[in-house]
């Protein structure tokens, strides 16, 4: 066999360009995360202090353990904040490029819509829409292939979980109409 016998080739039509401009640096993301964590630590710390972070006759109160953890979390994120500000390396690293962000959003937004749709249409219908839509829009796969794959996958899921294993999922009008 020679060096050239590559037999499996998969193309990616909507791949992000390599030279896309950066949206934000790792440092900026690091600072934001540390600030959020600090806020979380303060909130949880306050709540636990209110619950009671001291000692009573039977031992530590319920807030004791989490209160000190909030202190540790707060301290570590404060340290992280300072470290991120001082770090030159992180300032030059790219957190995400514009093209990458577009791709990530191309998965995240449909997932979000899927979760929303699940509440009204039920899981199985929402799954069908998600898979078919995603394959068609993002993957640029032929419509009939997308619809067929989505239908087969959803049907298999329904049979496995709802019929064979009795795992109950959210259901909507379609299932009601079918009497399940």
């Amino acid at each position: 066999m020679s060096n050239t016998d590559i037999e499996i080739v998969v193309e990616d039509p909507t791949a992000p360009e390599a030279d896309s401009p950066a949206v934000t640096s790792v440092r900026a993301a690091d600072v934001v995360v540390c600030l959020l964590l600090l806020a979380l630590a303060l909130t949880l710390g306050y709540d636990n202090w209110r619950t009671g972070a001291g000692w009573e006759s039977t031992g530590p109160q319920s807030g004791y353990f989490p209160f000190y953890l909030s202190v540790i979390l707060g301290g570590a994120s404060l340290y992280g904040l300072v470290a991120a500000f001082l770090s030159r390396r992180e300032a030059s690293e790219i957190f995400v490029t514009r093209a990458q962000l577009r791709r990530v959003m191309a998965v995240f937004v449909p997932t979000l819509l899927f979760c929303l749709a699940m509440q009204f249409l039920g899981l199985y219908v929402a799954s069908f829409l998600l898979i078919a839509g995603f394959m068609r829009m993002v993957g640029k796969i032929a419509l009939w292939k997308s619809l067929l794959t989505a239908f087969v996958f959803t049907a298999v899921m329904f049979v496995t979980f709802d019929i064979a294993f009795d795992v109950i999922m959210p259901k909507g009008p379609l299932e009601a109409a079918l009497g399940r």
């Binding site: 060096n3 016998d5 590559i6 037999e7 499996i8 080739v9 998969v10 193309e11 990616d12 791949a15 790792v26 993301a29 995360v33 979380l40 949880l44 636990n48 619950t51 031992g59 530590p60 319920s62 807030g63 004791y64 353990f65 989490p66 909030s70 540790i72 979390l73 570590a76 994120s77 992280g80 470290a83 957190f95 995400v96 990458q100 990530v104 191309a106 998965v107 995240f108 449909p110 997932t111 899927f114 979760c115 699940m118 509440q119 899981l123 799954s127 998600l130 898979i131 995603f134 993002v138 993957g139 640029k140 796969i141 996958f153 899921m157 979980f161 795992v167 109950i168 999922m169 959210p170």
Partner: protein, 503 residues
């Protein structure tokens, strides 16, 4: 040799058609999960966990652990054929595995990878068979202070020995412990950190968090990259298998060394990645011809694979014997055990003998069956990669949603999963490790209970953690490990001052 008798009993429990069928199913699903980009061991186990809710615990754990073996085997396929490591610990396998595939020796490399995985796991399982009962019977004497000390040791060793920035490990761990505390306090029954929300009353479910952190975030991360791939297709013929196996004895030193490294690093938390690199590097250093590594040398496949799988398997030892998982996947298996009402830890060996030995026996059997299965079906699994990611991604999202919802039948969990997906994505990008978070979340409540019970016992005196030799030395070791980087530096500079001229 009580262990042997019990192990035989374990095999007897397993050898029913139903269990064997589940085993095959688990392996196939596992390899599938291991081969697909954007999924791996922990995600696969987490997503498929709901499937097992309706089974009895023994069948369920057999299936889950087979998913795990399958995923380990599957990772090697993509590393060798496509130069895409499915998991961080398969990175070292690509160094020599992919060059071998380029030279048209893919079948040889695959056989070597599968065989050495098998050997690595086998050594580790044997270690578990004989060591786990001993450790657990020793641990039966542990009281709350000892358990807290062991938990402390686990947490501290993550901070002290991890390669990430220390404060990031601390952030990840304290966040996990805090989230574990949300909801009803198990000791006093008081509510905390719920902010009046009825949804938070149940607390943050561990598995929901894991599905979000690993499943959803992995999809987001995978999408960022260019997903076009080019790879080699390979079928394995019996002739190749035999010729590779015939050469095996030549490499016994490498295999043994890697197994040993793997077992050692697997028992200490977070070791599989380090183990594979260490196995590779040591094989290279001790080789007579180190320059030939990285150019398609079969030893370069043997060494990291054996170590990675030995450590992946050995990670189950502390989980079974002490209730402390040694890896992310072990933590998820532990979460599964708790769903079925089994409490991992030393008592498991006393109260649920059937279960424990069934599980250990399934490790032996699963590995043998897995080896045969991957050797015969590689071409089919390699062609899974032909399926475009745009079709795979939404299916994974749906599976994640099903998994997250099925745990508590709550829509809130779906949103929580999505939230954790974003958190996981951001954390991975800024270098906050997720393994300590997972571990903290699963151990949080037990660690707190152990702490409070020992405090109640001692009347609030911290000296209880040094009250006897055993607990004292564990606590001290934990603190030493926590400050290990500092100690290491101080020692380093002291020795440099003492011996200035040499070097």
């Amino acid at each position: 040799m009580e262990a042997l008798g019990l192990l035989m009993h374990g095999f007897a429990v397993l050898l029913t058609w139903k269990t064997l069928l589940l085993m095959m199913l688990g392996l196939v699903l596992g390899i599938f999960v291991g081969v697909l980009p954007g999924l791996g061991g922990p995600n696969g186990v987490a997503i498929l966990l709901p499937l097992t809710f309706t089974m009895d615990p023994t069948s369920a754990i057999v299936m889950l652990s087979c998913i795990y073996w399958g995923a380990l085997f599957g990772g090697a396929i993509t590393s060798i054929l496509f130069n895409i490591p499915g998991e961080a610990w398969s990175v070292a396998t690509t160094f020599d595995g992919y060059p071998m595939a380029q030279q048209g020796r893919a079948a040889e490399a695959l056989t070597a990878a599968f065989t050495s995985s098998f050997i690595g796991s086998l050594v580790a399982v044997m270690l578990i068979t004989f060591l786990a009962p001993m450790i657990s019977s020793f641990a039966l004497r542990f009281g709350p202070p000892e358990f807290f000390a062991v938990y402390l040791l686990t947490f501290c060793s993550f901070v002290g020995l991890g390669r990430e920035a220390k404060h990031k490990t601390v952030i990840s761990m304290s966040l996990g412990l805090l989230l574990a505390g949300i909801g009803m306090d198990t000791v006093s029954g008081q509510l905390r950190m719920t902010f009046g929300s009825a949804e938070l009353l149940r607390g943050v479910n561990f598995l929901v968090a894991v599905i979000g952190l690993f499943g959803i975030s992995e999809i987001l991360l995978t999408m960022e990259e260019r997903l076009a791939l080019r790879g080699h297709a390979a079928g394995i013929s019996l002739r190749v298998v035999v010729s590779v196996w015939k050469d095996l004895p030549k490499y016994w030193v490498t295999l043994l060394r890697s197994s040993f490294i793997g077992c050692w690093l697997g028992i200490t938390p977070g070791g599989a990645i380090a183990a594979s690199f260490m196995g590779y590097n040591l094989a290279k250093r001790f080789s007579k011809d180190p320059d030939s590594f990285g150019k398609g040398r079969i030893e370069g496949v043997f060494a990291p694979e054996t170590a990675a799988h030995a450590s992946g398997t050995a990670a189950l030892l502390p989980m079974l014997a002490l209730g402390i998982p040694g890896s992310g996947t072990a933590a998820i298996l532990l979460g599964g055990l708790m769903v079925w009402g089994l409490n991992p830890g030393p008592l498991l060996f006393v109260e649920h003998k059937d279960f424990v030995w069934g599980l250990i026996a399934s490790m032996y059997l699963g590995n043998v069956v897995g080896l045969v299965l991957v050797l015969t079906t590689v071409p089919i699994f390699a062609s899974i990669l032909r399926v475009p990611f745009a079709a795979v991604a939404p299916m994974i999202v749906v599976s994640c949603a099903i998994g997250a919802y099925a745990i508590q039948n709550a829509m809130f969990d779906i949103w929580l999963m999505l939230g954790f997906g974003v958190v996981g994505y951001v954390f991975k990008k800024i270098g906050i490790p997720l393994a300590p978070f997972t571990l903290a979340l699963v151990l949080g409540n037990r660690a707190e209970d152990a702490f409070r019970l020992s405090m109640i016992g001692s009347g609030g005196d911290m000296k209880v953690f040094w009250s006897n030799g055993l607990v004292g030395s564990i606590t001290t070791l934990a603190i030493v490990l926590l400050f290990w980087p500092v100690i290491d530096k101080v020692f380093g500079s002291v020795t440099r001052i003492l011996r200035p001229a040499k070097a």
